[in-house]
Symmetry: C2
Subunit: 428 residues, 2 copies
Amino acid sequence: MSAPLRVGIAGLGTVGGGVVKLLRTNAEVIAARAGRRIEAVAVSARDRAKQRGFDLAGLRWESDPLALASAKDVDVVVELIGGSDGPGRKLAEAAIDAGKGVVTANKALLACRGFDLAKRAEAKKASLAIEAAVAGGIPILKALREGLAANRLARVYGILNGTCNYILTQMQGSGRDFAEVLAEAQKLGYAETDPSFDIDGVDTAHKLAVLASVAFGMPVAFDKVHVEGIRAITAADIAFAAELGFRLKLLAVARRTNHGIEQRVHPALVALDDPIAHVDGVFNAVVAEGDFVGRTVFEGRGAGEGPTASAVVADLIDIASGRGTPAFGVPASALVAQPHAPMERHVGPYYIRLTVHDRPGVIADIAAILRDEQVSIESLLQRGRAETVPVVMITHETEEAAMRRAAARIGALASVTEPPCLIRIELL
Amino acid sequence: MSAPLRVGIAGLGTVGGGVVKLLRTNAEVIAARAGRRIEAVAVSARDRAKQRGFDLAGLRWESDPLALASAKDVDVVVELIGGSDGPGRKLAEAAIDAGKGVVTANKALLACRGFDLAKRAEAKKASLAIEAAVAGGIPILKALREGLAANRLARVYGILNGTCNYILTQMQGSGRDFAEVLAEAQKLGYAETDPSFDIDGVDTAHKLAVLASVAFGMPVAFDKVHVEGIRAITAADIAFAAELGFRLKLLAVARRTNHGIEQRVHPALVALDDPIAHVDGVFNAVVAEGDFVGRTVFEGRGAGEGPTASAVVADLIDIASGRGTPAFGVPASALVAQPHAPMERHVGPYYIRLTVHDRPGVIADIAAILRDEQVSIESLLQRGRAETVPVVMITHETEEAAMRRAAARIGALASVTEPPCLIRIELL
C-alpha cells in the first residue's frame, strides 16, 4: 500500500468536524477503497478554544489557514471556509499554486470563480474536487460527469436547498404561513438567523450554476441564473396547488432550449407523479434527463455534518486512488460557452392566483386579456362568496413574456384588488 | 488528444445495437469527456444477415466472437452475449488473458464467476467494468464504489427487474390477476416467451449478488441469495396491501445484521412513504443507507437499448480516460467473505393472508398459535360474510423461523381452508 494521503482541513464547523470524524471512524473502509490511508494532519479555524465534540489531538493547529497551502506535510487542502471571496478563495488559490489538491464544498466560490479555479488547477496539474458543493451527500456531480457521461442532457432540475424544502414541507403539512414556519425553522436550527441566502434562492442558484456547468459542458455562468426565492409564497397557494394535484417546491432548473441554456431558480409547481414531488423536509433531489439513459433521479440529504463529509471524503478517495476527472467534467479549455436563454423566452404552463371583487363580468374581463395575449386556460377555480374572492387558473404552455404582459394588464383592472400571483409549473 | 480507444462488440441484440448507435450519435460528447475518441471497430453476432436498424459499414464482422479477444486493433471487448457459461464467459476470459479491457452487462456471469473474473483481470492488469450489469442506466455501482465510498453501508435494497415491476404495477392499477397481466406483458414484449428468469427472481438475484459484493466488500456470493419470485402474488394481496397503506414490489435486499450479511429477493410490502413505493413500470430504483450519508436513492430505467448502452459507454469512457476502479470497489484480494445470515434469522414484520371458514372461534384459534410463537399482531382485517372469508394480519417485528412455525400450525387448522400466504414487509 502506498504512503498515506495527508490532508489539511480549513474550517472546523459542522462539515469540517464531520470530515475529521469520518476519516477516523471509517479509516479502514476508506483505506481499502482508496488503496492507501487518508489522514488529517493539520487543521485551521478561527477559534482554537471552541468545544467541538471531537479531539484535536494528532492534528497540528495552524492559526493562519494559508499555512496549509505551504505545509510540506499536506498533500490536499480541504477548504471549508466558504464565501466567494476572502480567505476561502485565497486558500484554494494558494494551495493550487503550490501544486496541492483542493477539495471544496464552497458553492459561492465555485459559482463566482469556478471556471478560473479549474483553469488554474489544470495549469498546475493539481486536483480540484467539488462534489460537496452541490446537493450534499448525493454524488450528483460524479453521476453527471462520469455515470451519465455518454449522454447529451436535455434538462437537469431539482431541489437543492434543504432549508427552503423544509419550510415548504412544513407549510404544506400544517397550512401555516411562511413567516411563522420560518421563525420556527430558525428556532430549530434549520434556518440561519439571517436566512436570506437560503430563502431568496441565492444558495440554490450557486449550486445550479455549478450543476449546469457540469451538465452542459460550459463555463460556470452564475450571472445568467434567474433567481426568485420563496418569501412571497402563501399558505393559500400551497393549498390551491394541492387541490389541483401539485406540490410547491423551490426548483433549480437548467434546460437546453432553442434559445440557448435556461438557468432558473424559482418556486414551481410539480405534478404529484413527478419523482421529486415526494421529496420532503431537508432532503434534496436531482432529476437528470439524458438522450440515451432517459430520466434518472438522485435523492439524499443535501446538507449537514455526515452527508457533506461523505462527499468531501469521496473526493479525497478519488484523489488518493489517482482517479482524476476535471471538476466540471471536461478540461476547462474544453468548456464551451453556450447562448443564454432569457426568462422572457421561457415556455411552460403557469399558475395564476388573483384576488377579485365578486361581481359579474370580472372573469370575462380577465379572459379577454388572456385571449388577447394568446394565453389559453386549462382550468379555473373560483372559491367562496365574499367582497373579494380568490380566482385560480392554470394555463396551457405560454411564453413568459406574454404571461407577464397579461398579468400586468389583469393587475390594472379595477376589479382586481391585489397584484396577480404567478407561479411557473414544471412539467415532467 | 491521445489515440482512439478501439472497441470490439460481441452480441448485437438490443443493447449491442444501442452501444453502436450511442458511440456514433454522441461521438463528440464522448470524446470531450473521455479525452479521446471511442470507436467501435469490430463486431460479432450470430446472424450477419439480420436486419438491425443500423448500418454495419465500418465495422469488421467476426463470425467467431473469440477473434475479438485476439484482434490486434481491439483495445476493449464489450461482452453482450450473456449466460453464466459458454461463449460469453469464454470471450471475457480470453480478452482478459490477452490483456484487453472487458466491459460486460452479463449479470449471470458476474453472479456466478465475478470474483474469479476480477482476480483474473487484476493479475493481467486488465480493466473489468460492470456497471451495465445492475439496474441498467442507473450508475449505481459507481455510486456505491466511489460516490459513497467513505461510508459503511447498513443496507442496500431496491427494484432491479423491470419486467416484474411492470407486471406488479399493472396488477396494482387494473386489479387483474398475475397470469392475465403476464400474458399481456409477453404480447407487448415486456416479458420473454419463457419468463421464468425474470418472474422467479433469478435475474434480480444475479444483480443483487453483484450489488451486495460492491456494497459490503465481499466476494460475490450468489449461492447465498434467498430467492422467491412473484408467481404466487394475487390481485387480492395487492388490494389488501393498498388498503393497509402499502405497495407490493419484488425487492432485492442486502443487509448487514448481527448474524452476518442477509441477501434476499422476494415480494415485499413497502410503505407509501418509502421512496421506492412510487417507482412504477419498467423503472428500477436502489436505496443505499450509509453511516454518514444517511439514506440515498437512485432511480432510472433498468433495461432497454438506450439506458443499458449508456452504462456500457460510461464504462468505456472511464477506461479511455484512465480512471480505474476495481470492479467490486476494492481489489479482489481485499474482498473479505462475510458470514451469511440465514433466512430463518430474518427479523421484520409480516403480512399474513388466510382463507378461513366464517365461524365463531376461528380467530381465537389463530391468535392462540401466534401468541405461542410470540408473534404479535399489529392489525387485522376480516372482510365479507360467506362460507370462506379472507383474514389479513400485519405483525410486529418477528423472527422468520417463528413466523414459519406459526404459519404451518395455522395452515393445519381445520377451519383454515388454504395454505397461509406470507409476505415480508420491508421497513424504511
